[in-house]
Symmetry: C2
Subunit: 265 residues, 2 copies
């Protein structure tokens, strides 16, 4: 099975450009799974709720339907970040779209970063691992700052994820130190789709640092992008190889866990 | 405040040599905290319970008392791994000894590695963070394979640990990928005292890979040993600097946690 993460530069407030860009990029990707960055369709740096409605989508909007049709037609799983509006709340969400649409779901970002707290509502979906039986695949999704909390990837792995995909708009670089540990600690594949470029609002400029990456279950880099180029990162993987959590004849990193002594309240 | 981890080669079944070695090493270390490897007093590779009693110590044994007296006399915290016997069980334990003996405690290794499962009982103490008020210090202890479980360091950090010390006899090298993440993820200092040398039993040789290390709260290396030399690794640190978990004006990696969505059973 092949997965690609697409690194590009979404333009703030230019949804038409971004969606067309994404559709063009998909044309060139033959992988089974395609992952785009966080808030791919809209850009990132929203500061006022008043400016958000015209760029938002509900999960049954025409935007989502376009990508759902492509997922089905091309037989590819497509994951991308979008600005979701639901019941007068804005969520920093990811659409996880399967060729069989009945498996498609939305994940709403649990841990909000920085000024996202001004405009977004914290996610209420919890962490979602989806079993896609047609491909014998278990795929979990996190969004950007969710990486900072080892409990997030752990939860998905314990729910059975073989691979975790991470649509991101990362502005700090410290994530490179922990992201491979998320893969190793859980013996799962992990794919980060980070964006590139900058966004300025008022006096503040955000620099998104690219380096989209796919790790194997030991946290080894399978493919890695530069910090600044539009590019596609691709790796082959076998989801079944993530399932055996044993590391020698006596130890299994999941059955060795001792939750009664874990304080995580 | 200064911490040192002591990297040396304990000799299996030669408790007198090991203890004298440790006492000599302490003479040369002026740091406030001294950490020795796992099972420092006895060596590591026990295979039969029958061979263990003559090398074991209870936590009120003369061996522990010797180190407790030194801790008090020299005003140093001393942590070392030992073979504990209690109520007909053997534990892979660490003595955590404070100048004020009433704070001293034993930690019994929670996660047993490989053939330890033949001879040791899994620890029943849980993870222990000790507040030492005289020095305004919170110190947690893990032993070796406990590193493999992000919940272990997380538990200690949530209990308030400023620094986690890790007496170890590491035989795999993959720990270098996750150990710095334990420090970064929890914004705590972390000090690994790993041993060097080899031990052979029957047809099996274990190679202990040294590289004892002290990380700051970003997972940056403060001091690092070679894989093979007897040596002392030392760093200065300020325990108070581990306590502010904020990373910008809007985010705090502890208060941002959302336990209701963490599945860790």
């Amino acid at each position: 099975m092949k997965i690609s993460t697409v690194q590009f530069n979404p333009i703030l407030f230019d949804k038409e450009f971004n969606i067309n860009k994404m559709l063009n990029l998909i044309e060139n990707v033959k992988s089974d799974i395609i992952v785009f960055p966080e808030l791919s369709t809209t850009g990132y740096f929203f500061l006022h709720k008043e400016e958000m409605h015209r760029y938002s989508d509900s999960f049954d909007s025409e935007t989502i339907k376009i990508f759902q049709r492509i997922s089905t037609d091309r037989n590819q799983i497509i994951v991308f970040g979008f600005l979701e509006e639901a019941k007068e709340h804005f969520y920093n969400s990811a659409a996880i779209l399967f060729p069989q649409a009945k498996y498609s779901q939305v994940y709403r970002k649990t841990h909000l970063f920085y000024k996202e707290k001004f405009v977004f509502t914290p996610g209420d979906t919890g962490f979602i691992n989806i079993n896609y039986p047609d491909w014998d695949l278990n795929i979990g999704t996190l969004i950007c700052y969710d990486w900072r909390f080892p409990e997030a990837a752990r939860t998905l792995a314990l729910e059975g994820a073989d691979i975790v995909v991470v649509p991101s708009n990362l502005v700090t670089k410290i994530w490179h130190r922990s992201m491979p540990a998320r893969a190793l600690d859980n013996h799962i594949y992990l794919a980060v789709a980070n964006r590139i470029g900058t966004e300025s609002r008022r006096d503040e400029e955000l620099y998104f640092n690219g380096m989209s990456v796919i790790y194997d279950f030991n946290g080894e880099v399978l493919d890695l992008a530069t910090p600044t180029e539009e590019t596609i990162v691709t790796a082959e993987f076998d989801p079944r190889e993530a399932r055996d959590k044993s590391i020698n004849a006596m130890n299994d990193i999941f059955t060795d866990r001792v939750p009664k002594y874990y304080f995580l309240g």
